[in-house]
Amino acid sequence: MTFNKLGCLVAAATLSMSAFAQTKGMSDNVIRIGILNDRTGPYSTLSGEGSAVAARMAAEEFGNKVRGVPVEIVVGDHQNKTDLGVSIARKWLDADGVDAIFDVAHSAVSLAIAAMVKDRPKLVFHNSGAAALTGKACAPRSVQYMYNLTATALNQVVPQDVKNELDTFFIISVDYAVGQDNARVFRQAVAKAGGKVIGEVKHPAYTADFSSYLLQAQASGAKGVFFANAGQDLVNIAKQAVEFGIAPKQTVIAQAIMASEVEGAGLDVLQGMRSVSFYEWNINDTSRAWAKKFSARMKGQTPSGPHAATYSAVRHYLKAIEAAGTDDADTVLAKMREMPVQDAFTPNGRLREDGQLVHDMYVFRVKKPSESTGKGDYAQVLRTIPAEQAFWPLSESECAHARKP
């Protein structure tokens, strides 16, 4: 008898809950946001707690409430361990009622979460660069917010460079998938701009001595040398390029330069090096004002790309919830596509069908020590690439659902 009563109660509760969910209101009366990144390892300065602070700053702009529903932010440390990141993400989505995951900033974890949201009504906003995220492995509820590695490589050389007699290039690339992809896209960019690649050499990951590669680049007489590598490899090769006298004579172009790398190696070493970036904290008044606020909360740290992108993504997400009046993943995402992104991260962003946020990118060179006004002031923007040109056109996308008419 009691069991029957209990059964009825449970059944009634389940029914009412499913009815509630169908009204597309706010699920479980809280908007729960998960910031998943490396909080204690090598990338903790680049993303880490800074991204959580950035997300909180975005939520505070809404008074930590959207349409009366509180916004809650949880953080997770994946320690750059894929399995751990995947476990945390799955627990968040399945058991902890997290509505959307932000930052991630680790390609393998990002790809795994993109696969998870295929059959879960949840959203994920990656600050990871893997081209597959908006290519072969694209998923309807997964957004590549900050950048795309191939888009970066695509913008390294433009026709203007060739007109300015920067027309021959030598590529030094790290010998694994990302390096090879970047080298391949760089070749396409050079061909499109009307320049010529006159040589390429591959080096294994974690090389300490780059002399033989650099000497080949020097002997080639190319006007530009492209380093398709990252992290410690980039810092090492950049230092050695200066020692071999390559840097001032030949234009050095790097796949990516992070502020931490500039601080690690010094402006005197990296000065004049060129690259493409997706975020500059002093591009306009909005971005400068936000960077100042962020610095005040992060003991003077200048915001990095992932910090600003996390802020922007959370802000845009909450704005879309406010406009749509629901936190239903698909409705919110549709709203996010409708509304342009205009904030401290980018003055000109738009969320595309394939899950790519297209926004302005910047060609910059590292400042001379005499030009820098202090910590965080390292980049001089040479050229802004408008959002529509900066990314692969949608018509050439490898993403199946985006190509559909």
Binding site: G41, L84, I88, A108, L111, A112
Partner: protein
């Protein structure tokens, strides 16, 4: 050390209904009831897979006395093979697991044959070098997907019948796989083969003089350990649905050694406890803001200084003493 290990084993084997056995039964009951207690089961499964991996490592290190620093090669080759077979060939999970285990076994036979020619630190270095070779193979090989790994692996239907996407199905299947693996480790340790291994560990020259073909025994246990590590890797793919470079990176080789040492080297329960402690720390501290690496480091130092024989080794000693006093 030796007597300690034997007594630790003794509590589990000779005295059939000793306290250790009761503790084991309670742990088993908890494990089987876990999905109904509100525990997040995927954490248990992840920890179990690493527990099996640590036990496989412990079979070689704790009982065979061979410190392999490249055991991740077998875990990883099992994981990649299963992931590839499930995703690309679309085989059923049991076939995927068997293929993963076969790959790890074959690799174990080759690596083992090379490594057992040397002893001590040279043995460890050879296994590390071979594992690094494999790591770079997976970095380069097109089928392995480089730093993205093999993602979004379908779990499929076991024997074409049970849909493993059901949380209870995957839970009990992986629990069964891991417990089966652990049972094999226990059986091997208590078999005559296991006793010969201990003899070789304690005094190799004497074992040779007694007429044992030491190298065959070493190769046997190396291959067996590799096969079980491969099984653990395959099971992990079923749980997390991906295989990445983290599964073949030397960090995991280090972690598995840490698990074994913290739990208690040369005991059956030790590696399992160590795996649950370390995975538990990683998962529970992930949302706390405390660096889990620091806590693990402190725990390791504490174990070295205070619990010389690991967490389980310490308790097994206590249990043994309590038993002999009566």
């Amino acid at each position: 050390m030796t007597t300690g290990i034997i007594t630790a084993l003794g509590t589990a084997s000779s005295n059939r209904w000793g306290r250790a056995t009761w503790l084991g039964l309670i742990a088993l009951a908890l494990l089987l009831a876990a999905p109904f207690t509100g525990v997040y089961t995927e954490f248990v499964l992840h920890a179990l897979c690493l527990a099996l991996f640590a036990s496989a490592f412990n079979l070689l290190f704790g009982f065979g006395g061979l410190l392999s620093f490249g055991h991740v090669a077998f875990f990883g080759s099992g994981a990649y093979t299963t992931a590839y077979a499930l995703k690309v060939w679309g085989v059923t999970p049991e076939v995927g697991i068997v293929l993963g285990m076969l790959a790890a076994t074959a690799l174990g036979l080759v690596f083992g044959a090379l490594a057992i020619r040397r002893q001590g630190i040279y043995f460890a270095m050879i296994t590390l070098a071979l594992a690094q070779l494999l790591y770079f193979l997976f970095v380069q090989a097109p089928f392995a997907g480089a730093e993205d790994g093999i993602q979004d692996v379908t779990r499929g239907r076991l024997f074409g019948l049970f849909d493993l996407d059901h949380p209870l199905a995957i839970y009990y299947v992986v629990v069964a796989i891991c417990l089966g693996g652990l049972a094999v480790v226990q059986r091997v340790v208590q078999s005559p083969f296991g006793h010969v291994l201990e003899a070789i560990r304690e005094n190799e020259a004497r074992a040779i003089s007694l007429g044992y073909r030491v190298n065959s025994y070493k190769l046997g246990v190396f291959t067996l350990s590799a096969a079980l590590a491969g099984l653990a890797g395959s099971a992990k793919v079923l749980v997390l649905q991906l295989a990445t470079l983290a599964d073949v990176s030397w960090h995991l080789s280090g972690e598995v050694i840490l698990m074994t040492l913290i739990g208690g080297v040369g005991t059956l329960a030790g590696p399992v406890i160590g795996a649950f402690v370390l995975v538990g720390l990683d998962t529970s501290l992930a949302e706390s803001g405390i660096a889990s690496g620091m806590v693990q480091g402190a725990l390791f130092i504490a174990c070295v200084l205070v619990l010389r024989r690991g967490i389980w080794g310490f308790f097994a000693d206590r249990l043994e003493r309590a038993r002999t006093r009566h």
